[in-house]
């Protein structure tokens, strides 16, 4: 399995996406904090976090006695950068500017 396969496999599960949403809202959480948000055994949450770590979507850091989980956006950025080049993103930005301009002009 290559790196992209691991990312897509990890993202294909709603619980794992929810865990990423939790970390996006507030980064650097312990297993206990994450577990309290889910109707799932501690072991189940650990298994999902392991899949996310193997896909490099979650990075852990020791802080004293605690192990904290952080959302790592780099693999998602790599997927973005692979298919959305700078011209496309400039176009997307131009469209957003246009939308803003038109909406601002409305009476």
């Amino acid at each position: 399995m290559d790196d992209d396969d691991r990312v897509f496999k990890a993202l294909a599960d709603p619980t794992r996406r929810f865990l990423l949403d939790l970390l996006f809202a507030r980064d650097g959480r312990t297993l206990t904090e994450l577990e309290s948000e889910l109707e799932m055994t501690r072991f189940g949450v650990m298994k999902h976090l392991k899949v996310l770590e193997e896909a490099n979507l979650v990075v852990t850091r020791r802080h004293g006695r605690e192990k904290l989980h952080f959302l790592n956006a780099v693999p998602i950025r790599q997927i973005h950068d692979r298919w959305i080049d700078k011209y496309t993103s400039d176009h997307a930005r131009a469209l957003l500017d246009l939308k803003r301009h038109l909406e601002d002009d409305e009476p």
């Binding site: 650097g28 490099n56 780099v74």
Partner: protein, 161 residues
């Protein structure tokens, strides 16, 4: 440890090359924000990031980022303080702390982890999380590290392709 961001990227390159790409202005001006950053690689040494001509044309100050080297262990670990001077609001938030950790595996792949301890610098945090990208302020760490990976693996940064 809230107010901390952690990013990790795997790069098919030796740790020495990744270290050079981070610490030498010849390399660090070729990806991400593309302003050359000079580092005096000893504890207490200065970190000075200069604005490139494009940034200067948009009214950026001559020195865009600054800081001080705290810890150096090439090519494994670099700790520095880091302040952004491009925007007065972010400049006023003061110095944050960056830790680069490099770990080369047997297959010649280097895992680079960047830990950005923000302390009380919410706007720096938003900038480096990529929230201001639509305003043309770059995509933060994920964008910088994806670009660094592209440069070292293909010889080209993303904007060159």
């Amino acid at each position: 440890m809230s107010g901390t961001q952690v990013y990790k990227v795997y790069i098919k390159a030796e740790a020495n090359r990744v270290w050079e790409a981070i610490t030498s202005p010849e390399w660090n001006a070729r990806y991400g924000y593309r302003g050359p950053i000079e580092m005096d690689l000893r504890p207490g040494g200065a970190v000075v990031g200069r604005s490139n001509p494009g940034m200067l044309a948009m009214g950026a100050p001559e020195i865009g980022v600054d800081g001080e080297v705290v810890e150096v262990d090439p090519p494994n670990r670099l700790v520095q303080t880091f302040r952004m001077l491009m925007d007065p609001g972010i400049a006023a938030e003061g110095f944050t702390r960056l830790t680069y950790e490099l770990k080369e595996s047997k297959d010649g792949v280097t895992a680079l982890t960047v830990t950005h301890e923000l302390g009380d610098a919410p706007n720096m945090g938003r900038l480096m999380a990529g929230e201001f990208e639509e305003m043309g302020a770059g995509g933060g760490w994920a964008w910088v590290l994806s670009d660094l990976k592209s440069l070292l693996e293909t010889g080209k940064a993303l904007a060159d392709q």
